[in-house]
Subunit: 441 residues, 3 copies
């Protein structure tokens, strides 16, 4: 299953179109984002009306933002949402008025520890308004009267989710989930959708998929909860593996966070795949915060879904600030993550439990072209070693991932050896009706 | 469940009253010891007559010691039991006579490796008499005739055990066992009874105990065997956790030795509690020697009972000698051990397996006051993290101790978060009849 | 079970008689080898005719080699099989002819990385002929015409296996397998048969064996497959433990490679025994290549058979070359390996699961002479500790090997303590009909 690798320039072009949009958990910024990404993946839109009850939550009003800024005592327009959409507290109520420096200050948010960063602040579920700014700028604001204009609306509308389904031969599904609710930030927003979209494009051209791939773009938290409300039963019945993508574009190594189960197929596949893809990959046990895995892996669902990222959310200094910008990420890192996921999906596609049809002693390998017929010390190739592992553990109780794990060999080598053994008639899928197990006389 | 902490001066006052008594596995020294301790704990006495068969053992005769000393060739009274009760081999037969230096020497015990220490020697089950002395003193004994007076008796009497029971709401019991059979030694005798007594006093004023606490004072080995003979069936049926206290007053860190089971409730609770109480705490796997745990954890009982100590028996140089004296121990260490056990008992009292009543995705925390409604990076408090762990693992198959273990958080934080979640109606005990488990539509 | 230890001089004398023989997977070299070893072990010969189908394989023709050499352009006889039987590619077809230097070269095998070593090359299953030589010699061969004489035959005959069975009280069997198919090499040929033969001699004089010991000498791979074809059902039914011996004569520490099961009796016994026999012993997980363990542990058999060696095959530089000679091995190492196996077999013989007949508390040890009746700190001997471990874990679910493992004591000490406890009537075999388990009143 060879895949196309995305060109970095192509990824960058999409990034540049997506970055300026003012996204939130609802609204037209999200819709425009999905419109652009639908050039890469066959997205279908789901709109969930304001007021819909989704488990313990209610879909909030849709937020519209036409304009927002402040006029300082010198008459200069500052904290303009059109200049940087992080300036406005996300989901700010509409407001117009004149305030003293001191009154205004109660609505300002800055980070003294990062004096040049504009923080990203939201207030989805409590009516508030506010502005975010660099702490340097805040400290320089003169006394005097300020005019505040927040031209927003909270209206009955809907929350937008999009999904792209690539059907496979079997009813078994893989879920790839990421989020599109953050305004102009790079790693903690666009890295996930870009990796997801290019992975989807490459999988969509694969001819014969065993698994069905379900890609979903949601607003973080409320969106995955709404999605689980809509598709929960289906996902519980069908999902054999899945992955949440978050913060996957920075310059650090890959980090795989296990599913709550800890030993699900996706956990075993990720361990086998990523250790060999990049020896620096870090593996974390599940913890119930982070991104949408906390919902997918909540006790009522406990889905077999892990999380792929580089530096985990909140673990890099500029997280949730204007420092999480284009300079912070790498398009090579994004392309590399797509490749890692392509390999991971290949393992999911091709994993199989085999039965050795010649289980009594080692069968002839030389006559089947699986090893040289001339015995010399130098002959023991990695391929031959992989063949021997496959034959030895093809007993109906080890799948190829377990064989890769126990042999500590690159899973691609084990999968290749298994394919050759199968072609040579030495092994057969344990589940096949036609598999004839040899019996000891 | 806040507890009173014992005053060190109060502990010391009890120590000073208890230290001089000549204790043994039977006799009035034991009874006086229990009389004094009964000021702190509601002890009830059990007397088991000489000759009673207790499993493989027989209750020995009761030992009475009126006087014992030696007159040296210069007519000086030496090795006087009234000066230091370690001088007399415990359970010495009565004897009066005149011996040469050489004949006397066959009845002397000293430690060449600790030339200033009087060793502690017993001979409960073989008739012997002897004296213990510093090796320095032994080497200086002149030739000549010695007069030996051992005015003891071995009479039909009884072996004394005392127990204090603090009843709780349920029939489930916690056993706290320690021993009162050693004469004037500090760590390897009085540390255990003092910790036990002050723990008992603080638990006795607690209003609503879930568990019944059974404190027992026995002579080591024969006493716990006799106690098991008396209460074995009851203990097997009721005991959910227990701890033997020994050598718990020295200046080293705490040491917890696991029960024979290794993963009993007490082992899990001690691990969770003591790691966070003092990071230096050492954890040992079970071994079948030491103190009375070897009987409680014998294969016929295999009770869920661990051992709490500081430096284990026989692991400090002055063990079983006159060097194990008041200077060797610390009353702060004793008070600290009481506090550790109070926390441990709190975990046993409050441990619970919960069901998340809102298991589909994470429920709203902000509206329930469990997290700030304003999203900012700095907001993720340890409390919020603990709430998320509790909710995620409240699935009816993890108790709070397991949640503390998996999250690596201080169990007091997890227990507090669980209490808040329960107040908020988010979780309910898995065992409650009224618990309504949510169902996926 | 005290054993005789082989004299190194005696081992060396056998080595010197066996080394020069031209062995292969069939033929008279093998038969002469077995004739000599039958002086030490009661071997019975099994001949399996050419053409016999054994699982996926067919017994090949028998190879006879009368002479083989090359005449160089100067008329000198070189690469003479009588000078070093590694010169001839094993199983070479007959050939006579004159070739140019260049034509000859296509039939030559050397090791540029080991320029002074004659490599060992075989071609059992493809018709070939060839000569092996030091790379130094190869590079010095002048141009000109060479005369090649290979006076061999491949004829219908048989493959030779020998086995020696030492019957025991029970039907349970231990298999010790090694191979006799390599020509003049020391470690990777004669170390295994010599260790096996001297072990067999020492076991054969033991009076009362519980287990039956089955020693087998096979040509590697095809021989063990043929043997499994002949005895497979019997071995599956009877074998409780086994060991393949290979490369066990060099100067490195012992290496034990676990069976495919990983936790079979032999794996536990080897772990307990060899850790204490030599702390440098290395333990390896199973891998499906190496020597005949790959057949015994193939998925159709999965026999509980480990591998004992020193430096594993292919892990020392001179492996499969003329450098694997008498200088490379040590007769002390061979004698030491025999002793290690004697101890290992003793554990297999004497391992037992016991029931403590006095399970309620610790029984009296002093009155049974298992500990001193005078309590002194110095008294806790390793023997007493072992007695306490045995009594504590004699619960019908731990065998002595598990007790040795959990106590981290030398298994010989645990086995000795168990024997003493059994003599004292404290424990009895769990499987005995007469074992009366004590009941709690």
């Amino acid at each position: 299953m060879p895949f196309d690798k995305p060109q970095q320039s192509e990824v960058e072009a999409y990034f540049d179109r997506l970055f300026p949009l003012l996204r939130s958990i609802t609204g037209d910024g999200v819709r425009k984002t999905h419109d652009i990404l639908s050039e890469l993946m066959p997205l279908e839109r789901i709109e969930i009306p304001t007021g819909t009850r989704v488990f313990d939550w209610t879909i909030p009003k849709e937020w519209k933002c036409r304009d927002a800024y402040v006029i300082d005592p010198q008459g200069r327009r500052i904290l303009d949402v059109n200049q940087n959409n992080l300036h406005l507290v996300n989901y700010s109520m509409p407001f117009r008025g004149r305030l003293s420096r001191k009154e205004l200050d109660e609505h300002l948010y800055s980070r003294p520890d990062l004096p040049q960063a504009i923080p990203y602040v939201t207030s989805y579920y409590e009516p508030r308004w506010g502005f975010c700014l660099a702490d340097e700028q805040r400290r320089a604001l003169p006394d005097g009267e300020y005019e505040v204009v927040i031209d927003t609306d909270l209206v009955d509308g809907s929350l937008t989710i999009s999904e792209a389904v690539l059907p496979g031969r079997t009813g078994l599904e893989v879920l790839i989930s990421t989020y599109t609710c953050h305004p102009s930030m790079a790693n903690n927003e666009l890295s996930g959708p870009l990796v997801s979209a290019f992975l989807c494009r490459s999988l969509s051209v694969k001819e014969d998929r065993k698994l069905t791939y379900r890609f979903v773009l949601v607003p973080e938290s409320i969106g995955s909860i709404a999605y689980l409300h809509l598709r929960g039963r289906h996902l519980v019945d069908r999902t054999v593996a899945g992955v949440v993508l978050t913060c996957i574009g920075d310059r650090s190594h890959l980090t795989y966070k296990k599913s709550r189960r800890g030993d699900a197929l996706i956990d075993r596949a990720a361990s086998a795949c990523l250790r060999h893809f990049d020896a620096d990959t870090e593996f974390l046990d599940f913890y119930p915060y982070g991104s949408d895995e906390k919902h997918y892996c909540s006790p009522g669902f406990n889905l077999p879904i892990g999380t792929l990222m580089r530096t985990p959310p909140a673990k890099y200094p500029g997280y949730h600030t204007s420092l999480d910008n284009k300079d912070f990420i790498s398009f090579a890192a994004i392309a590399n993550a797509v490749e890692a996921l392509q390999r991971l999906m290949t393992l999911l596609e091709e994993n199989e439990t085999y039965i050795n049809l010649y289980p009594f002693g080692e069968p002839q390998l030389g006559s089947r072209g699986l090893v040289s017929t001339l015995s010399r010390t130098e002959n023991r190739s990695a391929f031959t070693v992989a063949v021997k592992w496959v034959l030895n553990l093809a007993d109906g109780s080890h799948d190829l991932l377990q064989i890769a794990d126990r042999s500590n060999l690159d899973p691609s080598l084990i999968f290749h050896a298994a394919a050759r053994c199968r072609e040579a008639g030495l092994i057969a899928p344990a589940t096949s009706d036609r598999t004839q197990v040899a019996r000891l006389p």
